[in-house]
């Protein structure tokens, strides 16, 4: 079923879009903009306005959830009657004035604001219009009633992470990685974690020294008799040195850190005897 829907003539949509705009203005600390939107609410949605009356009809259909079917059907019937009692010409005129005020005082982009229940609002607008066939009208009404009778989605409970959980986590992490990570790897990680606060300067300084140390260690190892007697090992040592040299012009990235941590482990292995002494 395809029906044309003009969102600018949908009172509830305009109301929701304006609420979104006001929220954005508050969050961005745009006082003037927020005040203009509040003034629009006061002018166009005051208790006597036709727009307010129509908004109430919309709200009685899209804001109720968890009701039984009988009550929902009664609300639907009453809302339709209340909406039909509103003077259509007067409503059209007030809508035009509101659209005009939004375009001139706030911005035409207000109508592009994302309203999550836009489809429900469009369906209600179709029900209120007299252009639907009886069959389509019943189908759409049924959709809205189903929506009204469904339970509101349960809120996800915020799990309070207490100190005990954090302590356990830290203990488990330390037990698992205290033997696996080398001291220099732990230092690198701890500096990486705190690097957000100082433009990573402390981390850069540490890596400047660490890469230098690794280069010297690999170069010394390369000159040893063990390396000199094995061509493959010499080639691999050159590759590692090339990689370390490339960091001189590089920046900090996950890949760089992983490579440095692997090289730290390699250097440790080179300089540790088979019996780990």
């Amino acid at each position: 079923m395809k029906n044309k829907h003009n969102k600018k003539r949908n009172t509830a949509f305009i109301y929701e879009a304006l609420v979104k705009e006001a929220t954005v203005a508050v969050l961005r600390n745009e006082t003037d903009r927020k005040q203009k939107i509040v003034n629009l609410f006061r002018t166009h949605f005051n208790g006597d306005s036709l727009l307010y009356k129509e908004l109430m009809c919309y709200r009685s259909l899209y804001e109720n959830q968890g009701l039984n079917k009988q009550i929902s059907e009664k609300i639907m019937k009453e809302a339709k009657i209340a909406q039909r009692l509103i003077d259509p010409d007067g409503l059209f005129k007030q809508q035009t004035e509101l659209i005009n005020d939004i375009n001139k005082e706030v911005a035409p982009s207000v109508f592009n604001n994302y309203v999550p229940n836009y489809r429900t609002l469009a369906t209600i607008a179709q029900i209120f219009s007299d252009k639907l066939s009886p069959k389509n009208s019943v189908i759409l009404e049924n959709q809205i009633i189903e929506n009204m009778t469904s339970e509101a989605p349960a809120e996800v409970e915020d799990l309070d992470v207490d100190k005990l959980v954090v302590k356990n986590f830290v203990e488990k992490f330390n037990t698992k990685y205290s033997d696996e990570l080398l001291e220099e790897q732990k230092e690198l990680l701890s500096r990486y974690i705190s690097s957000f606060s100082d433009n990573a300067l402390e981390l850069k300084m540490f890596l400047n020294e660490e890469v230098e140390r690794l280069k010297a260690s690999v170069a010394t190892a390369k000159n040893s008799a063990e390396f000199q007697s094995d061509e493959t090992m010499l080639e691999r040592a050159d590759t590692v040195l090339e990689k370390l040299d490339s960091f001189a012009q590089g920046t900090i990235s996950d890949r760089t850190l992983i490579t440095i941590m692997k090289t730290q482990k390699l250097v440790k292995e080179i300089y540790t005897d088979g019996d780990n002494s």
Partner: protein, 180 residues
């Protein structure tokens, strides 16, 4: 009127006050963030001055690093032959001179000279920052001469610069280049 007379070595000491955006790291290095293009680290523990590019490794940052070490070298703060490229992130580093007397602190002298270098360079990098910010502002908030109000573009029979017609049509002379 009471007169205060200071006697001894401390009486001749000069108090120097510096205003810098500076932080001390866990291992005692002083990290100076004031310069627009580079971050400077003064490491008393390793007896080094290291300069890192602030954002990206480029000629602009290298220029600032080069000027810093020339400045420090001319004032006898760093060992000239020790100035070299570092191992990470486009850094440039140099060793501080060893002071002849214990009364002289090399890191303190280096800090004062780095502060002087930043003061000397400040107009240059603040000007650059102002130009960048002005360019951004011109794009985000153009003045009336460079902008048209949304929705107020007057309607005309013909709009834009590329219009239909024999001369303006970009494909009209295609046959000239056809291969037979």
């Amino acid at each position: 009127m009471a007169i205060t007379v200071k006697v001894g070595e401390e009486a001749n000491q000069k108090i120097v006050t510096l205003e810098l955006n500076i932080r001390k790291s866990i291992d005692g290095d002083l990290m100076i963030f004031d310069h627009g293009d580079i971050d400077i680290v003064l490491s008393p523990g390793k007896n080094k001055v290291v300069a890192f590019p602030k954002e990206i490794v480029d000629d602009l940052a290298y220029g600032a690093q080069n000027r810093l070490f020339s400045f420090l070298h001319k004032r006898g703060i760093v060992v000239p032959e020790s100035i070299r490229a570092g191992a990470f992130c486009g850094s440039l580093e140099a060793e501080m001179q060893k002071p002849v007397s214990e009364a002289v602190s090399a890191p303190k002298l280096a800090l004062i000279n780095v502060a002087n270098f930043i003061t000397e360079e400040r107009p240059y990098f603040e000007n650059t920052e102002a130009i960048v910010s002005m360019t951004d502002d011109e794009l985000i908030h153009p003045d009336k001469a460079d902008s048209t109000e949304l929705g107020d573009v007057p309607q005309r029979d013909q709009q834009g610069s590329i219009r239909k017609g024999y001369i303006r049509d970009p494909y009209s002379l295609n046959y000239m280049y056809t291969l037979y």
